[in-house]
């Protein structure tokens, strides 16, 4: 039963990893940008949630209503003021600039909040669980996170393929110059894509902060989980990132079940195995 439990918990954890990955996948799909600071932005959102929660005295899950728009605005500004200048044929500038951002965010958080691990408390929902036959108990909070991940990815999918924004994203992704000729301002389109990605980052960050403790140096680890979920699922496929997140979560939990020291290692090894046998991921949509 321990093993069944490990797999179920892993699937639910995969939802959180899919949230880490969805933003990465979106901005890569639209502008071929890989944001090294993605994990640090998730941690930044968690710290913002902490500040909002403690100053207003509200439930951290409600703080999303404040943190998400803020992160969206931050994303739009960041993209228009900094990241748009780095886009081009050369991959070095976006990489190095987002790497620099990552260091700035990490150390900024360190100055403001110190290196102490923090955690947000969501109240009674944290310990609530639903009993299943066979003596299994499934937490309400992990289920809520998984359901949110499914909804978020469904909404992103809808935006990308059914809405006017999505049309602009896909057009700019296919051919920037012709999209410009058709009257789209690509700087603005990229800004919107980054804003949308950081709204997802805000949700992911709050959930991270409720689920586990976090500190300013936690970002790179989250980036790697998100990246692995993206690659396992296949580049450019949003539902694929959910599958990737689930595979990663399940492998980590099975690894932890064998030996607590193997939790992260098992996830990385699953990623490398998939990279070796299916280098383009399980359900690729676009080429890297």
């Amino acid at each position: 039963m321990d093993w069944v439990n490990a797999v179920i918990q892993g699937i639910l954890l995969g939802g959180l990893y899919a949230l880490f990955a969805a933003g990465l996948s979106l901005i890569f799909g639209v502008m071929r940008l890989v944001n090294i600071a993605h994990g640090d932005l998730i941690v930044l959102a968690a710290f913002l949630g902490l500040t909002v929660t403690t100053t207003l005295g509200i439930n951290p899950l409600l703080s999303i209503a404040i943190v998400a728009p803020f992160m969206g605005l931050l994303g739009y500004g960041l993209q228009r003021l900094v990241l748009n200048r780095t886009l081009g044929d050369d991959i070095l500038p976006p990489l190095l600039v987002t790497f620099g951002l990552s260091v700035i965010i990490q150390n900024g958080l360190l100055e403001l909040y110190s290196a102490d691990p923090q955690k947000m408390s969501a109240g009674a929902i944290e310990t609530a669980s639903v009993g299943l036959p066979g003596g299994l108990n499934i937490g309400v909070l992990p289920m809520l996170m998984f359901a949110t991940a499914v909804v978020v990815i469904g909404v992103l999918q809808w935006i990308f393929y059914r809405s006017a924004w999505g049309r602009a994203f896909r057009a700019t992704s296919d051919n920037q110059d012709i999209a410009q000729l058709m009257g789209l301002n690509k700087s603005h389109v990229f800004g919107l894509a980054m804003a949308l990605a950081l709204v997802v980052v805000a949700i992911a960050g709050i959930f991270l902060g409720v689920r586990t403790s976090f500190d300013p140096s936690a970002g790179p680890g989250r980036l790697i989980f998100g990246f692995e979920a993206v690659i396992i699922g296949g580049l450019g496929n949003l539902w694929g990132t959910l599958v990737g997140g689930i595979i990663l979560g399940v492998c980590q939990n099975i690894g932890a079940q064998i030996n607590p020291g193997w939790q992260l290692l098992a996830g990385h090894i699953a990623f490398l195995v998939i990279l070796a046998i299916r280098p383009r991921g399980l359900f690729p949509r676009i080429d890297g």
Partner: protein, 358 residues
């Protein structure tokens, strides 16, 4: 052929001749440091040499082969752990363990390259990071080397380097100086060779160089393995200086990759001079601003971003653009060979065809 009869191709220019002489003088002065420098100075200089070696290697990887890795800490840590493992378990002398660590690093980089070369561009970068994480988590499982909390180099092994403390410190200092010299010479030789021309072509335009028949995968693979091996040797030396190793210190992305990237970007990526100048600036900044703690790292990150956006070729790129100087005789210049103008090549800098990186 008659058109080429009046021209000759030269590599050395006046600045590069002066630089070569100056380099020899500086080298002699530095080699004598145990005679004139205090212990703290020698430690600082050793650290500077090791960073310079790491930066030159990363520059070869990212600036010439286009392999932007953020996971070179994998090899630094691997080399460090090799040093500890070889000396503690096999009783090897630390001096012998350093080159063996380098060989082991080159060997282990082969399967790593085969795997992560499947990823392109930025995804390659994060893939290298995953590899470094795998190395770190694996090292933390080795309980005989202290597991997650690490271990110290036993006193007996430290004493086997040399009998007196002064001699030990001089030996590790000379090794640090030796490895930066080895790395710089090797990078120069490599870039002047056929492979180097191929690499420079790849740096400037990957598609065009492929259409000229360069096997890009092999050229990149070769560079990756060489830098993997040398980075592991540098890593072994770093932890021979520190005398203590732990997974978090050995595979630290900040210490062995972030700083190194900032050094190369600030100095000038895709040039040999860049990492050298960058390292010196980095140490000057660190010695003056280190008291600021986290703020210092934020400043460093900001400087790197501004340089990347405003002057992507860094300080040396800017100097070279203004003066046409090359301190290392790598580029070929076409010189007209009229008898009266022979050797007078200062006004021919517009003909230098190498420095036009994209």
């Amino acid at each position: 052929m008659s058109a080429t009869a009046n021209y000759t191709v030269v590599r050395f220019s006046t600045p590069s001749r002066i630089a070569a002489v100056a380099a020899i003088v500086i080298l002699i002065v530095l080699a004598c440091a145990p005679l004139w420098a205090g212990r703290a100075d020698m430690r600082l200089l050793s650290e500077l040499f090791l960073y310079m070696a790491l930066a030159s290697l990363w520059n070869l990887l990212a600036g010439y082969a286009g392999l932007v890795s953020v996971g070179q800490q994998a090899f630094v840590g691997f080399g460090g752990y090799c040093l500890f493992g070889l000396t503690i378990f096999f009783g090897l002398s630390p001096l012998a363990a350093v080159p063996i660590a380098g060989l082991a690093g080159a060997l282990v980089s082969v399967p790593v390259a085969v795997l992560i070369f499947r990823l392109r561009g930025a995804y390659f970068a994060i893939g290298t990071w995953v590899i470094a994480e795998v190395f770190r988590l694996t090292a933390a499982q080795v309980s005989s080397l202290g597991g997650g909390s690490g271990t110290s180099l036993p006193v007996a092994i430290v004493k086997s380097i040399a009998d007196s403390r002064a001699m030990r410190e001089a030996t590790t200092y000379w090794m640090a100086l030796g490895i930066v010299l080895l790395v710089l010479v090797l990078v120069c030789v490599l870039l002047r060779s056929r492979r180097g021309i191929a690499l420079t072509a790849i740096r400037d335009n990957e598609l065009a160089s492929q259409s000229l028949g360069i096997d890009i995968w092999r050229a990149k693979f070769f560079v990756y393995v060489i830098t993997g091996g040398l980075t592991a040797a540098v890593g072994a030396l770093i932890f021979l200086q520190k005398l203590r190793i732990s997974p978090d210190a050995a595979f630290s992305v900040n210490d062995w990759t972030a700083f190194v990237i900032f050094i190369v970007v600030i100095g000038g990526i895709g040039t040999i001079e860049g990492p050298i100048i960058g390292t010196i600036i980095f140490f000057l900044l660190r010695e003056t601003l280190a008291d600021l703690g986290a703020l210092y790292l934020m400043i460093l990150g900001l400087v790197a971003i501004v340089i990347m956006l405003r002057a992507p070729k860094g300080i040396w790129g800017f100097v070279r653009q203004k003066t046409g100087f090359d301190l290392f005789a790598l580029s070929r210049r076409v010189i007209a060979t009229h008898p009266d103008r022979r050797g007078n090549n200062t006004d021919n800098k517009e003909n230098a065809h190498e420095p036009q990186a994209t």
